[in-house]
């Protein structure tokens, strides 16, 4: 009996904390339960959720990526630059593919030189950030035309944000890839047992590169949304988001050792981070308490998740 209980606690730690938090917030703050508040939370966190969800296969396959925020900046600044040059639609369409290209570069470096993904993406992250500075010349690129801002600011029927719809589509596609396709199986196999995957004739290297390409593309989409929303391309955009994304994936319970994880877990992780944020805003608490709480919750969730693993 206690065995089942600890297992549930371990497997669903983040979800349980999320539910407890949501219930608490709805009791202490009447504003929390309003649908508009929910939509706002989703809308604000759309770029983070898109990146975190696409980062999940990377981590399941045994990789890591700390360059996602820099990819977001390159793609976002490129989009803003194109918009400012009179091609707003082209900018939005191209941003995901710029991200895709940079993700492939990451994958090629990591698999080609056999460098640890952690080190490789620290380095490429610096390079990409530098490229973003170069694109903007270190300035702000203003892009406030309607043809550009619809992605980040627009709503359908004046209720649901377009960014939220894009986010839902991204989540659906990645969840489908991971759960219903051969590629998804390969991702789990490569991360769970590289040698067994090789002996099964899997293209380990291509699988790895594909995961990085995926998170690159997601970061490109997130970049387009972010820049479109603020109406300005600036090279430091998205800074810190790479760590939020990693935190969300791990918080949800995807294993950093690879081979285990799920998209719904990452969604829970992002929502948990978002609710903590939102709750503190609703309650008007000092921001430094918020950071302490966020960090503590991450530790709590990871500790709960790890409790039984060492058995």
């Amino acid at each position: 009996m206690t065995d089942t209980l600890t297992r549930i606690l371990r497997d669903y730690a983040a979800l349980i904390i999320l539910i407890v938090l949501a219930v608490t917030l709805s009791i202490v703050s009447p504003n929390f339960l309003r649908p508009q508040n929910f939509l706002n939370i989703l809308n604000q966190n759309a770029p983070l959720l898109i990146i975190a969800v696409a980062l999940t296969p990377v981590i399941i396959a045994g990789g890591f990526d700390i360059s996602t925020a820099s990819i977001l900046a390159v793609a976002g600044c490129s989009a803003a630059w194109l918009a400012a040059a009179g091609h707003p639609y082209l900018g939005i369409v191209l941003a995901p593919f710029i991200g895709l290209a940079l993700g492939i570069v990451n994958g090629l470096i990591i698999t080609g030189f056999r460098v640890h993904a952690f080190l490789a993406t620290i380095a490429t992250g610096m390079v990409f950030r530098g490229i973003a500075v170069r694109i903007t010349d270190g300035q702000l690129i203003s892009a406030r035309m309607e043809e550009f801002s619809w992605l980040g600011r627009g709503r359908i029927f004046d209720t649901v944000h377009i960014a939220v719809l894009v986010m839902i589509v991204c989540v659906a596609i990645i969840a489908f890839l991971l759960n219903r396709t051969a590629y998804g199986r390969y991702v789990f196999a490569v991360g769970g047992n590289e040698e067994a995957a090789l002996l099964s004739g899997l293209p380990n290297r291509i699988v790895r590169i594909a995961t990085f390409a995926g998170v690159g593309m997601a970061a490109g989409i997130a970049g387009a949304i972010t820049v479109s929303r603020t109406g300005q391309g600036q090279p430091l955009v998205g800074e810190g988001l790479e760590f939020d994304a990693i935190a969300a994936v791990i918080l949800g319970g995807t294993s950093v050792f690879g081979g285990e994880g799920a998209i719904w877990r990452t969604v829970v992780g992002v929502l948990l981070l978002a609710l903590i944020n939102n709750g503190f805003n609703l309650l008007n608490v000092d921001p430094f308490v918020k950071d302490i709480t966020t960090g503590s919750v991450i530790i709590l969730a990871i500790a709960l998740g790890a409790a039984n693993r060492s058995r």
Partner: protein
Amino acid sequence: MAGLSQPTVMPIVTMTGIDKRFGGIQSLRGVDLDLRPGEIHALIGENGAGKSTLGKVLGGYHPRDGGEIIVAGEPVGPGWSPRRALDAGIAMIQQELAMVPGLSVQDNVFLGIETRRLGVLARDNAARYRELEARTGYGIPGEARLGDLRVADRQKVEILRALAREARVIIMDEPTSSLSASDIERLHGTMRALREAGHTIVYVTHFLEHVLDVTDRITVLRNGEKVTTVETAGQSRKGLVEAMIGHSVDVSYPERPPLPARTTPAVLDVAGLETDTGVRGVDFSIRPGEILGLIGLVGSGRSEIARAVAGVDPVRAGAVRLDGEPITGLSQREIIRRRLVLVPEERRAQGLVMTAPVQDNMSLPHLKLYSHLGVISPARERARVAELMDRLNVVPRRPRQKVSTLSGGNQQKVLIGKWLMAEPRVVILDEPTKGVDVGARRMINETIMALAEAGTAILLISSEIEEVLGLAHRAYLVNDGRFLQEVACDTADGDAILHRLFETEDTKATA
């Protein structure tokens, strides 16, 4: 083989009724062992007999599941660990030496027990090292970088490390496995010197010649149980081998299908196979429905032959032909697609994704068959997996269950099922019954026979001679990457084969 006991000598270590399980496998069953001060005590047995495991239980590396350990009259409680073993004067030298290659010899020797003043390393360490060095006379400079030393010298550093901690009992797990003949002689000299100084040495090995040469007493293990403990004096290799293999009574083998007609063309043909992994010129062919065995000790090159044939390791010279078509140099994927498959030896390391469910593991190499444009059709996949689980009697029959939660025998069945999923024409089985219980073993053996009956060509590798003789039509003895001789399995004598293998191995070791 009655063991003499000398009740006057107070043992330094007494282990009684030691049990150890790994998952569902009982590795040690009620094993007793006593060690006297100033003796070299051999632990011998076949692969998987439990000799290393027993050493590791004593060294604190494996917690025991039952039984008692008494060191110098004091029972050790629960929570016996390498650290506590060291404190009690028991040091273990593992097969893979556990030291820091980037540090100097001296730093390695004193790692964790450095003389410090307020946390700053004191100069005494150098003097301490010289004193220790002088006691042994190994002649290894303390400043040398450990990573630059030869394996034999690193072992000596391990011994120095044990001595620096005042170990009275030193457990050596297969210390000669990577040593040259002259280094082995030197190691034996070292062991004798340690014995003279009153230390006890536990020598885990499978080289009988070494055992007879250097030890005082021998404990023989078989299938996790102690067979006997005897004084070395007066023992012969023949007697030890008999004690090691015994005569397994609990395994009966299913009827072999008839050997295919001589005129049937071979499905797999291997000629002049050589690899960088140590295969040195191997020729053989297998006809459909034929079971060919490879018999050899660990490190004989039998697994390397399998890996090269299956396209896992690159082939340096020679040809592998499937139905007359060369397949050397083809990708793993392509070879699997042509239905030549390898069931690898290490199911955890090479075979299964332990974090994934049974179903995903089984279909992993064959997803093309169950998907369209990369999208898996789950119904067909599940039906095929369920069929195989029935055929192999995998318990519980739940395709979504994680492999890691199954018993060893059922994991092995899943591994075999994985490679049978696409109806292969050639199956290479490397140690298919390693570490599985009797029931699973029988199921696996029956499966092998059924495959041959249906016309599959089988290459069966096992270190259990009885198993190869019971299952295969004919077999080759493998040593040092080459075939020694061919044997017909229904007439061959297992003991004679084992003697032949150990003989060749010992000639190599003492050459």
